[in-house]
């Protein structure tokens, strides 16, 4: 009598198909707090190369700071505007310009100008122009929006740094796609692999386990952004 031992592995959380971050459409990122740079980092990794229009309203500049060139290392055209409606106008204008590769707008709170119609206009313009458009929101509620992908990005304790265990290491982000037309929603732990030590410059999506531990990186999108 032969017996066969079957070792049953506990299945990890199901890995979803990873959404296409380079999709030419309107995507929205909700950031948890002003001190949370995870949304900005995730967005930056997802942006394609080339000039980017970065429009901010006054409250965002005051509360969450301004993009800092030495850290970003990108060709930015900054639009420091006062009202949220101005930000939306500038984004629409920039989407029509073939020289801009992506458009980023930051809006604080839930202004009346940022209603369903405004986001729908942006989404349709982005799709017609064929370039991604990102809306970064803080202190707002998850109100009706026509964004094709809506993300919630929060910081996650970083990986240990190589030489100094007490120092913060490479960033990790907890990324939740809570509403999407393009791919099924899901929750991931995302690491940005820069192309320095031989690895490709890409975003590495790992399933986010319920006990907040990091699973093996199982899915990586091919279209990760460059920093």
């Amino acid at each position: 009598m032969s017996c066969m031992s079957v070792h049953v592995l506990r299945p990890l959380a199901p890995i979803r198909r990873v959404p296409d971050l380079r999709a030419a459409t309107l995507a929205e990122i909700s950031c948890a707090s002003s001190l949370d740079g995870a949304g900005t980092g995730f967005l930056l990794a997802a942006l394609p190369e080339g000039p980017v229009l970065w429009a901010q309203d006054r409250l965002t500049r005051r509360e969450a700071g301004v993009p800092f060139l030495p850290g970003l290392g990108r060709w930015l055209l900054r639009a420091d505007l006062s009202r949220p409606a101005d930000v939306l106008t500038a984004m629409e204008d920039a989407l029509a310009c073939p020289a801009i590769s992506a458009v980023v707008g930051e809006i604080w709170g839930d202004p009346a100008a940022l209603d369903f119609t405004a986001t729908r206009r942006l989404a349709m313009r982005a799709e017609a122009a064929g370039r991604p458009c990102w809306l970064l929101r803080r202190a707002g509620s998850a109100s009706a929006s026509a964004a094709r992908m809506r993300w919630r990005v929060t910081a996650f304790p970083s990986e240990p740094a190589g030489d100094d265990p007490a120092a913060p290491g490479d960033p990790l982000w907890r990324v939740e796609l809570f509403r999407s037309r393009l791919s099924p929603p899901g929750e991931w732990l995302v690491r940005h692999e820069r192309g320095e030590d031989g690895t490709a410059d890409r975003l590495c999506f790992s399933a986010f386990a319920a006990d907040r531990t990091v699973a093996e990186p199982a899915a990586a999108d091919e279209g990760g952004g460059s920093g």
């Binding site: 001190l35 980092g41 000039p51 030495p70 900054r78 920039a94 100094d164």
Partner: protein
């Protein structure tokens, strides 16, 4: 203008007077023959049979003088015509560019001589003093005291012939005589005279006691398109496309592109309203120029309507005809400049910028605003620099300080933040060549809190560095 006629033939310019032509102006030969200005030409012919009379052209003279006035701005930012035969230039602060005031005057004289004109020049603190010294003073005088005017005849005060005659009858022959007598009787005597003919006013202007600013006219724009309307209208948008096309066609004929456009509407109630738009690169594409006015026409405030619309190109630059690519697309820089134009015309030039790296270790000075059309590559991102910067840095309250390293617990905007990991310090010293002497050094730490938020924290100063009290802590940036 002299020129074709030799100097030894007496020539006068004649103007129409009430009893036939009168002498408007004359050359030196005519003057030595006894010809007087203002006399009838027929009388002067009797005096000097060889006299030649040429009709004067006051309008042509004025045009030439206006042209010279704009040319004279090479010596100073403001210039104006002064009567029918004078120019006034405000050279305040400009003389050193030519090597001093005396050299400046010689330069003016020499350049007018090259242009075939005899110029009498003088430099004085006031317009009135310069006027008198140029006409009645010694040649090329540089005066720093309006009292230099005192020995000159009373005619140096820019007064009409009647007033001069009256002053001479009163026995006042020199400017000094007028300045010496009491003001009250003069004030009574000339109380009804207009300001430009009042000896006291003119004296005060020459002495610098009364201000006399120079109204320097702007040179007319090279390219203007205008629409005259039969009836006043409230909205120029129907006429604007035609005007823009007209202007673009004018510029295309001379290979120019505009950098600044001014749309003016002239209201029926006697007011004028202007809207100015600017472009980042010279352009004469009608569609693009038209789009710059989108959303700006509300600023016009038409009142009861306007009946004249004028579109002027205020600044133009050479712009050769460009070849559009075979795919119908122009190049990237052109599209980018168009976008910048639209954003700037809508939100103002201060709102739109392109950050470029600047050589400074202080984070808030390490980027600078630059021309958005420059084509240099972006810097490589530095992992030890944050993605976002708080401007200004936000102070935090330390709850639990650690002797070396960042605080273990601090409060930022009423939130308690516990530091779990940190790296640093990175010391950045103040820039002694820019900062005030009391500026303190900064020690920057990269920290991470329990929830994974990564911040850039710095301590300003050291305990006991003699530059203020205890060191303070600030949040300066946010990492990814």
């Amino acid at each position: 203008m002299k020129g074709a006629v030799p100097d030894d033939i007496p020539v006068v310019l004649s103007a129409e007077g009430p009893h036939g032509p009168v002498v408007h102006d004359l050359n030196d030969a005519a003057r030595s023959a006894g010809v007087r200005r203002g006399a009838r030409v027929v009388d002067m012919r009797a005096l000097c049979p060889a006299l030649q009379a040429v009709p004067a052209s006051p309008r042509g003279d004025a045009a030439v003088l206006t042209r010279l006035m704009f040319w004279a701005r090479r010596w100073g930012p403001y210039s104006a015509t002064d009567g029918g035969d004078g120019l006034v230039i405000d050279t305040t602060g400009a003389a050193h560019l030519f090597g001093g005031e005396a050299v400046l005057l010689s330069d003016i004289e020499a350049r007018f001589a090259t242009a075939g004109l005899t110029a009498r020049v003088a430099l004085a603190p006031t317009w009135g003093a310069a006027w008198g010294l140029a006409r009645f003073g010694p040649a090329r005088i540089v005066s720093h005291d309006p009292a230099d005017l005192y020995p000159l005849p009373i005619a140096a005060l820019r007064l009409s012939d009647e007033t001069l005659l009256l002053l001479r009858r009163l026995g006042l022959r020199r400017v000094g005589d007028l300045a010496a007598i009491p003001r009250l009787p003069l004030m009574r005597r000339f109380g009804r005279a207009p300001a430009w003919d009042n000896p006291l006013t003119r004296l005060d202007q020459a002495m610098g006691r009364l201000a006399e600013p120079i109204g320097a006219p702007e040179p007319p724009p090279d390219f203007v398109a205008q629409a005259r309307l039969a009836e006043p209208v409230m909205d120029p948008s129907d006429w604007l496309p035609g005007l823009v096309q007209d202007l673009a066609a004018q510029m295309a004929r001379r290979d120019r592109g505009c950098r600044r456009l001014c749309l003016s509407v002239f209201r029926v109630d006697g007011r004028r309203r202007d809207i100015r738009v600017a472009t980042a690169a010279p352009s004469r594409e009608a569609g693009h120029l038209l789009r710059l006015f989108q959303g700006r026409l509300d600023e016009l405030d038409p009142g009861f309507g306007f009946d004249l619309i004028r579109l002027a190109a205020e600044a133009t630059e050479p712009l050769a005809t460009a070849q559009v690519g075979l795919d119908g697309n122009a190049d990237t820089a052109l599209h980018l400049s168009r976008l910048i134009d639209r954003l700037v015309s809508r939100f103002g030039a201060d709102a739109i910028s392109r950050p470029l790296p600047f050589q400074s270790h202080l984070p808030e000075r390490s980027e600078t605003r630059a021309d958005a059309l420059r084509d240099d590559p972006p810097p490589a991102p530095r992992p030890d620099r944050p993605l976002r910067l708080f401007d200004p840095p936000e102070e935090v309250r330390v709850l639990y300080a650690v002797p070396e390293g960042p605080p273990a617990l601090f409060i930022w905007r009423r939130q308690q933040i516990a530091v779990t990991r940190h790296a640093g310090p990175e010391r950045i010293a103040p820039e002694w060549w820019r900062d005030s002497p009391g500026a303190r050094l900064r020690d920057y730490f990269r920290i991470e809190d329990a929830s994974g938020r990564r911040l850039w924290l710095y301590r300003e100063g050291l305990a006991g560095d003699g530059r203020g009290g205890m060191p303070r802590w600030f949040v300066h940036g946010v990492f990814a």
